[in-house]
């Protein structure tokens, strides 16, 4: 089932000319209407008419989150204020909130993209969607809401919180689709169990989960406990909200980026250079159709890779892998890019539990050293030295094999690793700054 067959299955030789004409139009629009971009183009020495192919995208300047903050609240709008019909904003926990605006057409486009996402998940008219994403300035709730209505499904706008009431409505309304963060779905599962309602007997057959990073292991856990197909959805308020990319239920392997609206690139987060298809790096998105607040080459900070191999579902749009980490967290150890989340995943695989760990980076002579400290809890502990040494060796071997970095693994006592504000400080970089 494909919502917009013509666009979503367009051959690349049709898709790319469309992307190019939209890109050229976009560059002209922001040059004419957004002083921030006009200045940036002048500084970079690029004129809109110089964009002649998609390959020229790399000459355009990046846009960063800080640019949105510097232009708070409405400085990046490309249309008169009276054409803006909706405003969303991020929470602003790490600085000033980032604000985004939508024209009437932007809201319509967003709804149809979310309808595409629903259909990719096998959802259609007649389905009942339990929407536990928060409504409000956060884009999750309303994004899902308008998409379900556009599709013609029935939406239950329950929003977040009030878990006992959610469980009651899951039982009484019999939804077939659950939209929430992956972790909240497990919370709902537990609450349902407490209320004596077996989740697997509810008619929910699909879960559309996003707004936080999650792993393949977590997908298996959710699917087996809740008895549904769990699918990954991607989006960010700066670009649109949920529905920038969606995993299809057919392949369940990668998220289709809706390329007629968003132009993706993967760059090396350090040099900013474009990377060839398949390589892992930072996702950069250009909004091809956004009217109110278009963005050129927005650095998402999300680490992923792009897969252009045709998908079994028939969609031609490129697939991005599950988010592997954030470029802000990336470490370079002896020239190798390492994300703490990768080490965490390896630790989880090694013994199947959530470990407390810390990464200590140092330098001996010209060589970077990495020490991985892992807290020993009762499940890991053995009273035999060789068992513990074997565990150290196994972790070390996995890190070497999968990340290509030799690390020293050190088992430490529980609670010996510093915790601040409930969050562990995972990385201690003692290397001298150059």
């Amino acid at each position: 089932m494909i919502f917009d067959i013509e666009k979503e299955t367009a051959p690349r030789e049709d898709l790319e000319p469309l992307q190019l004409s939209r890109l050229r139009n976009l560059v002209e629009r922001v040059n004419a209407n957004v002083p921030f971009y006009r200045r940036k183009f002048e500084e970079t020495g690029i004129r809109p008419e110089q964009i002649k192919s998609l390959n020229d995208l790399k000459y355009l300047p990046f846009t960063e989150k800080q640019d949105l903050r510097n232009n708070y609240p409405f400085g990046l709008f490309a249309v008169p204020k009276e054409n803006v019909v909706r405003i969303h904003a991020s929470s602003g926990t790490t600085g000033k909130a980032t604000v985004v605006g939508y024209t009437h057409r932007d809201v319509r486009n967003w709804a149809s993209l979310m309808a595409r996402a629903f259909m990719a998940a096998g959802v259609n008219r007649g389905d009942v969607v339990h929407n536990a994403y928060g409504y409000g300035l956060f884009t999750g709730g309303l994004g899902v809401h308008y998409g379900a209505e556009e599709l013609g499904a029935t939406i239950v706008p329950i929003s977040g919180g009030g878990t006992r009431r959610q469980v009651m409505l899951l039982r009484d309304f019999g939804p077939t689709v659950l939209c929430s963060t992956p972790s909240y779905s497990l919370f709902l599962f537990e609450a349902a169990q407490e209320a004596g309602i077996p989740f697997s007997e509810l008619p929910i057959r699909v879960g559309i989960f996003g707004a936080e990073p999650w792993s393949e292991e977590m997908r298996h856990d959710i699917e087996s406990k809740l008895g549904l197909i769990a699918l990954d959805i991607y989006g960010l308020s700066e670009i649109m909200g949920p529905g920038v990319a969606m995993e299809c239920a057919v392949a369940q392997k990668g998220l289709h980026i809706f390329e007629d609206h968003f132009l993706p690139e993967i760059i090396d987060p350090i040099t900013g250079e474009q990377l060839p298809p398949g390589e892992t790096g930072e996702l950069v998105l250009t909004t091809l159709t956004k009217e109110a607040q278009p963005l050129i080459r927005y650095r998402t900070r999300d680490i992923t890779s792009l897969n252009y191999v045709p998908c079994r579902c028939g969609r031609t749009h490129v697939r991005m892998s599950r988010i592997k980490g954030r470029s802000d967290d990336m470490l370079i150890i002896r020239g190798v890019n390492v994300f703490p989340s990768q080490i965490e995943a390896l630790l989880l695989e090694t013994e199947g539990l959530t470990p407390h760990y810390q990464l200590i980076l140092d330098r001996q002579g010209a060589m970077d050293t990495l020490e991985v400290r892992v807290e020993v809890d009762e499940k890991l502990f053995s009273d035999e030295v060789r068992h513990l040494q074997r565990l150290e060796g196994k972790i070390q071997g996995n890190i070497k094999e999968f990340l290509g970095v030799t690390a020293k693994v050190k088992l430490v006592e529980p609670r010996s690793l510093a915790r601040s504000e409930g969050k562990a400080k995972r990385i201690i970089d003692q290397r001298p700054k150059v």
């Binding site: 009273d383 035999e384 030295v385 040494q389 529980p414």
Partner: protein
């Protein structure tokens, strides 16, 4: 016939052993036997104490990782060949000793060896069939 031994994970840094003995001392727990296995990074302290349940609880409350293992306490004749006889008996029956440590009774007559076997139940059977005295837990805790 088995004896409960507690084991504690210790980082190799000054004062950690003292932290353990302080907890036990304040809890009025007496150490009957001990052994310390160590590597460059960490050590495992194995203890037989008068009240292992309480010792384990107190140590856990103080943030230690504590394990519990069943071991066997065997009385060994205090004469040349006393230990050799027992080990030969076990090795003839393909029983592996994971680790062992010695413990001398207050009377000084016989030595006691604490064994951790790979197959504890079979080891106990063989020792009993050969009339080797195994000291039960209750007796050992209260010696």
């Amino acid at each position: 016939m088995k004896v409960e031994q507690i084991s504690i994970f210790l980082e190799n840094r000054a004062g950690r052993l003292t932290d353990v003995t302080r907890v036990l001392s304040q809890g009025g727990i007496n150490i009957r036997a001990l052994s310390l296995a160590d590597t460059s990074d960490f050590g495992i302290l194995r203890l037989i104490v008068t009240d292992h349940e309480r010792a384990k609880q107190l140590l856990k409350e103080n943030g230690f990782t504590v394990g519990r293992t069943s071991v066997v306490a065997v009385e060994v004749d205090d004469r040349p060949g006393g230990l050799h006889f027992i080990l030969e008996l076990l090795s003839n029956n393909q029983i592996n000793v994971e680790y062992m440590y010695a413990f001398v009774q207050q009377t000084g007559k016989d030595a006691v060896m604490i064994f951790r076997f790979d197959r504890t139940d079979q080891a106990v059977e063989i020792l009993q069939a050969n009339k080797i005295r195994i000291i039960p837990g209750d007796e050992l805790y209260n010696l």
